[in-house]
């Protein structure tokens, strides 16, 4: 969509249009990318870390890094996935820097809009249970599981993001499911 007559970037312009504007000097247009993609990135960071405060810092840093490296975004139309890759890297480094295993704080999720109260309560309870189970997965399994089943990425995409082979990623997801199945049966 073309910018409006004032020269400002329309908030519903596609990612590629916005990035063209930013590269042309309109730094303020980056706000639209942040606003558009922060829910997805924040959800990923919360699931990976279990801590909303840490997730906010990771997401903030990822967006800043993405801005600083915007000239390296080769597919501007897929900015969201590219920013997610930066965040996944940040999250992985953060979790591996932990000196010892720390039980993840259970972040209270926002229920899906449009669900009735009973369904929302059920979903919140499920997510609480799942958060505890996810915390017990090794970082690489948790990451692969979330990118595959939460983000819906293909194994080829995940391989591009993480550097791991497709076969290794399939193994990680397989093991994550096996472990979660056992943990969830124990918890329930």
């Amino acid at each position: 969509m073309e910018p409006d007559s004032s020269g400002a970037t329309a908030p519903d312009a596609d990612d590629e249009t916005i990035i063209v504007r930013i590269r042309g000097g309109d730094a303020e247009a980056y706000r639209h990318l942040v606003r558009r993609h922060q829910p997805r990135l924040f959800r990923y960071a919360v699931r990976m870390t279990g801590d909303a405060d840490v997730a906010m810092d990771l997401v903030q840093n990822a967006f800043i890094r993405a801005y600083e490296r915007l000239d390296q975004c080769r597919e501007p139309g897929r900015f969201g996935q590219w920013a997610l890759a930066i965040l996944a890297n940040e999250s992985r480094h953060h979790l591996r820097r932990r000196r010892r295993y720390q039980p993840l704080d259970r972040h209270t999720a926002s229920p899906s809009p449009g669900f009735g109260p009973a369904r929302q309560a059920e979903q919140r309870e499920l997510l609480d249970i799942l958060s505890g189970a996810l915390a017990q997965l090794p970082v690489d399994q948790r990451e692969a599981f979330l990118l595959r089943h939460m983000e819906g990425l293909t194994y080829a995409d995940i391989s591009g993001m993480t550097g791991a082979s497709v076969s290794a990623l399939k193994q990680r997801v397989h093991r994550a499911r096996e472990t979660l199945e056992v943990l969830l049966q124990e918890i329930r």
């Binding site: 730094a27 303020e28 980056y30 706000r31 942040v34 606003r35 922060q38 829910p39 924040f42 959800r43 919360v46 699931r47 909303a52 997730a55 906010m56 810092d57 997401v59 903030q60 840093n61 967006f63 800043i64 890094r65 801005y67 600083e68 940040e90 480094h93 820097r97 000196r99 972040h107 999720a109 926002s110 229920p111 899906s112 809009p113 059920e122 979903q123 499920l126 997510l127 799942l130 979330l146 089943h149 939460m150 397989h174 499911r177 096996e178 979660l180 199945e181 969830l184």
Partner: protein
């Protein structure tokens, strides 16, 4: 976990082709994945914080390289350095947004100050001072790349500010490289930084 269930979750098998005893488990997994995919609502001030950093980057794109050039001691002691972003960053007032725990509001004219502390092994580092009501949690520093150097860009209004660093929420550290100190009345010294607006705005 049954192979058919893995295949179903990979999208390689339809639910209708699952054996009867697995359909319940498949349904449980569907509910679980719906919960995983439930949206999260980030705090509304995230956008403001990112855009403040973007504005600082625009004013001085090489600040990270400058930070990397700071000398580091060979011993693992905390050494703090405060680097003042040379150019003034004049911000448009931020649009009001609802927030549960907003950071300090940014004045219409503010100088971004880079606080940096080398504290390898620290779990948390924050800067506390007269500009954030001496809150030990309001202004955290981050060690983005895990090299032990913690940083934060903090917008400060013109004037004189006192500050200290707080490491791991318990250890108060005086900036040894500050130009001035004042006795804090508790046996420690607060570092002092004076911020002055430049005579002309940065381009």
């Amino acid at each position: 976990m049954h192979t058919q269930l893995h295949e179903y979750l990979e999208g390689e098998r339809a639910a209708s082709s699952l054996s009867e005893d697995l359909r319940g488990a498949a349904s449980d997994w569907d509910a679980l994945l719906d919960a995983v995919r439930a949206p999260e609502r980030p705090l509304p001030w995230l956008e403001g914080r990112v855009m403040h950093a973007v504005a600082a980057h625009v004013a001085r794109p090489g600040w990270r390289a400058w930070l990397g050039a700071l000398p580091r001691p060979r011993y693992a002691a905390a050494v703090a350095a405060v680097v003042v972003i040379a150019a003034a960053v004049l911000l448009r007032p931020a649009a009001p947004t609802p927030s549960a725990a907003p950071p300090a509001a940014v004045d219409a004219a503010a100088i971004f100050v880079q606080f940096a502390l080398e504290a390898p092994g620290a779990r948390t580092v924050s800067v506390t001072g007269s500009f954030n009501q001496w809150s030990s949690r309001a202004t955290p520093l981050t060690d983005v790349d895990g090299d032990g150097v913690w940083t934060a860009l903090v917008p400060l209004g013109p004037g004189v500010h006192q500050y200290m660093f707080v490491v791991d929420e318990v250890e108060w550290v005086t900036d040894p490289r500050a130009g001035r100190y004042v006795d804090d009345g508790f046996g420690r010294n607060n570092a002092v930084i004076a911020v002055a607006m430049p005579s002309s705005p940065a381009s």
